[in-house]
Symmetry: C2
Subunit: 357 residues, 2 copies
């Protein structure tokens, strides 16, 4: 009996466009941008890729920065836009690695409860009475770890609050193009490009190996980030950035995204069906895209004891407490990444899960 | 009259092995390691490249970490091996970007004067009476910015002091394979692999665009670094690391280094000859390799005023004060990077320099 891992949110091995990447990487090094790819650049990243993203987002070049993955931007943010002692608001739960990085730099993290349709607005409004956040960090689409998507009404409200209380929104949107059902909602960046920095990454769309993240937003914080980036690594890994630029220029991204949606949609359907069959009383959020679905276990149970019992049935999980700024809030929180497992594995995994809950 | 830049230590454009890199990148993505290149890995870096470096250095896999350039390791060091308030010793002058990064993380920097044959041992010994450094940061070969190389006697003495006073040595060795004359001296790492972390990079050897740095050293600090790396970017840019691994496996590095030495040697000779001709009274260190030569201007002159006068003759410099932990010590310090200029440009540049000194 193979172990089934409900741990990390990784893309499926079979999703990587290896042949196309081989051709793009080769073309870059034999093409007109080869020298620019190999030389030092600025902290803003590889210019031809920034130009493509600026055109896509209808912004100027100064509004686009590309770096070594989006997580790296959070780290740089902590020593540039933010300073030790500054306050950041996050959803609870939120992406665990972001908490680690904000805390590394002495940033004060205030958590606002998340609901199935996004951040709790009352709690957010109330928190704004006693705190002055410099940044509110939100994953509006198919949130990691919950799978929740923020409603349009809430997005509009949050953007209004940003203007009223003068904070920046950091919209983390790596899953946004991976919608498997329903229709796309305007992004926070669409609603207010003056106050929203939208971060994305090609990790989930192409592969982690190219290590390319991007941030589109107001020029001032981006210039601060680019300065910190230059101080940290002079310029980022341009071979990956140039390969991604070539991939985009050849029009390969949209077909790649379509094939990802077709690969992952049945997996989302399989995990939902399995939960409805094997754990009919489970409380879970039905995501419309992305990598994660989350279950809240019944009162009295805990993920830590589930992790123990999982060993008996060859099932592994991530401790839910890591996703919560106040760890004890995550005692009953179970994240189920579904993209790197086949429908059969997902069905079998949930069956095993039901045997130990 | 073209401007001649004596500013940044960048490789010559004509030095990049573009065709070979194209072939290596393509082969990686079509070869047996393609999937490993594209997936998430650990904070230690791409395993096949670590294996090559472990064999080269006769150490175990746990003694090798590869990341996004060596400067990135300094940044990670500041939040792992080192903590705010810890003390680091550096040479004065030293690599300016390292000072920026240590200071970013609240590391206390103590500077020890540098002499043409390496760190001043008396000053080092004396400083050890009143300070307890966790790390002593040294560039033993063809130092940036001075061009100085540490003598074997001094290397042995520093290693003994490390054992006696229980500190780690961080040996930054990106220029080490680029010796243009004389014979190689045992590295600090060669002398004590238990206490020395030797950092290197393929930036100067292959190109900045691959963005690959490496660190070989004791397992314990490396594990701390790898944890911080994983927290920061999960895994580094593997496309570049895999391309470098392929480059090494094909035996392309040694011929590449030989061609770099043949390209840069006449440039070093040209800048020395020009100084001897046009500035016979200048006090400068004659480097045996690397990217930099440095001049100490006569009493009463300063690089900042030279930068002003340089505009009249189309000559640019870097402010020497940035290389000194105590900035005013660098008032008369002029760094001359010579690799990215032709012998003719170097000769012309020094002639212009003599006209404004």
């Amino acid at each position: 009996m193979n172990t089934i891992h409900f741990t990390r949110g990784i893309p499926a091995d079979e999703s990587y466009p290896l042949e196309q990447l081989a051709s793009c990487a080769e073309a870059v090094m034999r093409g007109p941008n080869a020298l620019e790819t190999m030389k030092y650049g600025t902290g803003f990243g590889f210019t031809p890729l920034r130009e493509i993203l600026a055109a896509q987002n209808n912004v100027k070049l100064e509004n686009v920065i590309v770096g070594n993955g989006s997580l790296g931007f959070i780290d740089l943010m902590g020593v540039s836009v933010l300073q030790a002692g500054d306050t950041v608001f996050v959803e609870s739960p939120t992406y665990d690695r972001v908490l680690t990085l904000f805390r590394r730099h002495g940033i004060k993290v205030v958590s606002i409860p998340l609901e199935p349709d996004g951040i709790n607005l009352e709690a957010l409004t109330k928190a704004l009475e006693s705190h002055k956040p410099k940044i509110v960090y939100l994953i509006a689409d198919f949130q990691n770890p919950s799978g929740a998507t923020m409603s349009l009404t809430k997005r509009q409200a949050v953007v209004e609050l940003a203007a009223k209380h003068d904070f920046l929104i950091l919209e983390d949107a790596p899953y946004r193009p991976l919608r498997y059902r329903g229709t796309q909602i305007a992004s926070l960046f669409d609603l207010d490009p003056e106050r929203v920095m939208q971060m994305s990454s090609y990790t989930k769309q192409i592969s982690p190996g190219v290590r390319v993240g991007s941030l589109v937003g107001p020029a001032r914080p981006l210039a601060q980030l680019a300065k910190a980036a230059n101080d940290t690594y002079i310029s980022a890994a341009f071979l990956g950035q140039a390969t991604v630029a070539e991939f985009l220029q050849r029009g390969l991204l949209e077909p790649q995204l379509e094939s990802l949606r077709n690969l992952y949609r049945p997996r989302l359907e399989a995990v939902i069906a399995a939960l409805e069959t094997h754990l009919p009383n489970a409380r879970f959020i039905k995501p419309d895209g992305g990598f994660f679905l989350s279950v809240t276990l019944p009162e009295g149970s805990s993920v830590s004891s589930l992790m123990e019992r999982g060993k008996d049935v060859n099932l592994t999980f991530t401790d839910g407490r890591g996703f919560f700024p106040v760890a004890s809030d995550g005692e009953r929180f179970l994240r189920l990444p579904f993209c790197a497992l086949t429908p059969e594995e997902l069905s079998e995994g949930i069956k095993r899960l039901s045997s130990i809950v």
